[in-house]
């Protein structure tokens, strides 16, 4: 059963088309990765799923309901939340307030177990609750961005380059946390430039180039694909 389905989605900035008719599906419980180089259209795709950009034309169905014309807050309400590219932490809000912003779509104060879930995955955040988001280190901000998205209790979590700018040891850690979140029952669509790690983590993958899907397959297959090896895994 696919929980998310994009069909022939086009997205333009002015008269420049950044996404040129992509189709993809994510099944309930999966980790699916979307890999591609700079400017390929990955972020644009995620923003369009979140309703920040408009598919024109194209359809996006989440849980059997079309969401491509909904404003972003309606989409969050239905269970799609994102840790956006560049973390986008609210700089002059505390860590706690940033987490609360993640729970904005859940009316009322978030239950303790939601905070606890985040602190179990990211223990540092517990010690920094009153620190301003803008003063966290890059790695801490990434943890907060993922934690904030989890506060929305998403059924589908969108992650845009969670490993960007992190030390290699920390990259391993983030990917193991992504797996853990998935095992707790959250479906994940993962955008990455680190194709190696992404394909080792996901069950299926799509390769996007200049706004078009050029390859799609099981992640294990893509890891051994000659074109992927050459273009994204840095192997000859």
């Amino acid at each position: 059963m696919s929980i998310l389905e994009l069909q022939d989605v086009h997205v333009s900035y002015g008269n420049i088309e950044a996404v040129k008719g992509i189709s993809l599906t994510v099944d309930e419980g999966e980790i699916v990765t979307l890999i591609g180089g700079n400017g390929a259209g990955k972020t644009t795709t995620l923003k369009t799923i979140s309703g920040v950009r408009r598919a024109a034309p194209g359809t996006i169905v989440f849980d059997e309901e079309r969401i491509d014309h909904m404003p972003s807050h309606e989409i969050v309400k239905r269970g799609v939340c994102q840790a956006p590219e560049g973390r986008r932490i609210f700089p002059r809000m505390s860590v706690r307030e940033n987490l609360d912003m993640g729970a904005y779509s859940q009316k009322g104060t978030p239950p303790t177990e939601d905070y606890e879930r985040v602190f179990t995955l990211f223990p540092v955040l517990r010690d920094r609750l009153s620190q301003a988001g803008g003063t966290l280190s890059g790695g801490e901000q990434q943890m907060l961005a993922i934690g904030r998205a989890l506060m929305a209790r998403p059924r589908l979590l969108l992650l845009d380059e969670p490993s960007m700018g992190l030390a290699p040891m920390f990259v391993e850690k983030i990917f193991s946390i992504i797996r853990e979140i998935n095992e707790q029952g959250t479906t994940i669509l993962l955008v990455e430039q680190n194709a190696q790690m992404a394909l080792q983590t996901a069950s299926r993958g799509y390769v996007i180039e200049s706004g078009e899907i050029v390859l799609e397959d099981r992640a294990a297959k893509l890891l051994t694909d000659e074109r992927v090896k050459k273009a994204y895994l840095g192997e000859a």
Binding site: S50, G51, V52, P71, P84, F90, R92, M101
Partner: protein, 308 residues
């Protein structure tokens, strides 16, 4: 030392804090809207006028039925005044700005739309109520209740300053702690991400205009009580001065609006004491020009509205 800086000074300070409180209440509306939209709502002076007019109408309706006005009536007038301010502010957002936002219009379009809306509203009131000043039914009779050295402080002045402090504190608490307040701050810091977290941006913008409108409406009624008159263009000068106050404090910054309002009130009053009352407005506008030239981010720099 000229006596405006010695014997006259306490009197001027008290007067300055009184008018400064009214500027501060209006300035909060400029600053809130700028915080979330990076837009100067130049029609905000008509929100103040609308509040003052609604207060007047409410009081007239009451006195018309033979009621003897007294201090309680001020509070009776504040409610319709604030509501009218809120309604005018929301209507401005809805009809003058939202259509432009939907189209992603250029900055200049907003300014033109604001000026058009402002002219429309003040001219409707001109046609309806005429061009003469209307007397604001007396609510609080002026009674000196405190003497500091050689100045008497009147009950009305204390009411204005205290009302301003209570409303500003209430606003500050609302913005810091309520869910809608968090939404306002999130939109001010990063609207796109706020949307991705589930904030309904249009709703936050409506609430922001509403808050600014309630405060400006209250200011309109307090102004009517203190100066005793109102008419279609009553918002013009206080509006520009409150804008000056918001810029002086650092636009986008709530506490800046408070400090900017009080500072401007004191500076123009003390200055008027030294140069003559006819110079009061000139002094206020020199402050505006000076701030824009030498410190455009104001005393407190950019606040709620600044991007990281």
């Amino acid at each position: 030392m000229p006596d405006c800086l010695t014997t006259q000074l306490p009197l001027r300070l008290v007067g300055g804090l009184t008018s400064g409180s009214i500027y501060a209440l209006i300035a909060l509306g400029y600053t809130l809207v700028y915080g979330v939209l990076q837009l100067i709502n130049f029609a905000h002076s008509e929100v103040f006028m609308g509040g003052s007019l609604a207060g007047l109408l409410a009081l007239e309706a009451l006195t018309h039925h033979g009621a003897q006005t007294n201090a309680i009536f001020l509070f009776v007038a504040l409610i319709p005044g604030m509501l009218a301010g809120g309604v005018v502010a929301i209507a401005l957002e809805r009809f003058a700005y939202r259509p432009l936002r939907r189209r992603g219009a250029a900055r200049l379009s907003y300014l033109i739309s604001a000026i058009g809306a402002s002219l429309l509203l003040s001219n409707i009131v001109l046609l309806w109520r005429g061009r003469n000043f209307e007397n604001f039914p007396a609510t609080v009779a002026p009674v000196p209740i405190l003497t500091l050295g050689n100045v008497q402080i009147y009950n009305r002045q204390i009411i204005i300053v205290v009302a301003m402090l209570i409303m500003t504190a209430g606003l500050d608490i609302f913005v810091r702690t309520s869910r809608a307040g968090k939404g306002i701050r999130a939109v001010a810091q990063d609207p796109e991400t706020a949307g991705m977290m589930g904030v309904d941006i249009n709703r936050v913008i409506t609430v922001t205009f509403l808050l600014g409108g309630l405060l400006a409406g209250a200011a309109g009624v307090l102004y009517g009580m203190f100066f005793g008159v109102t008419r279609f263009d009553v918002g013009f000068i206080p509006g520009i001065k409150a804008f000056t106050a918001a810029v002086l404090g650092g636009i986008g910054n709530i506490r800046g609006a408070l400090v900017g309002g009080l500072t401007l009130g004191v500076v123009e009053n003390v200055g008027a004491g030294c140069c003559g009352n006819q110079w009061k407005d000139v002094i206020a506008f020199l402050v505006l020009v000076g701030v824009l030239m030498f410190r455009p981010t104001g005393l407190f720099g950019e606040g709620v509205g600044a991007k990281a």
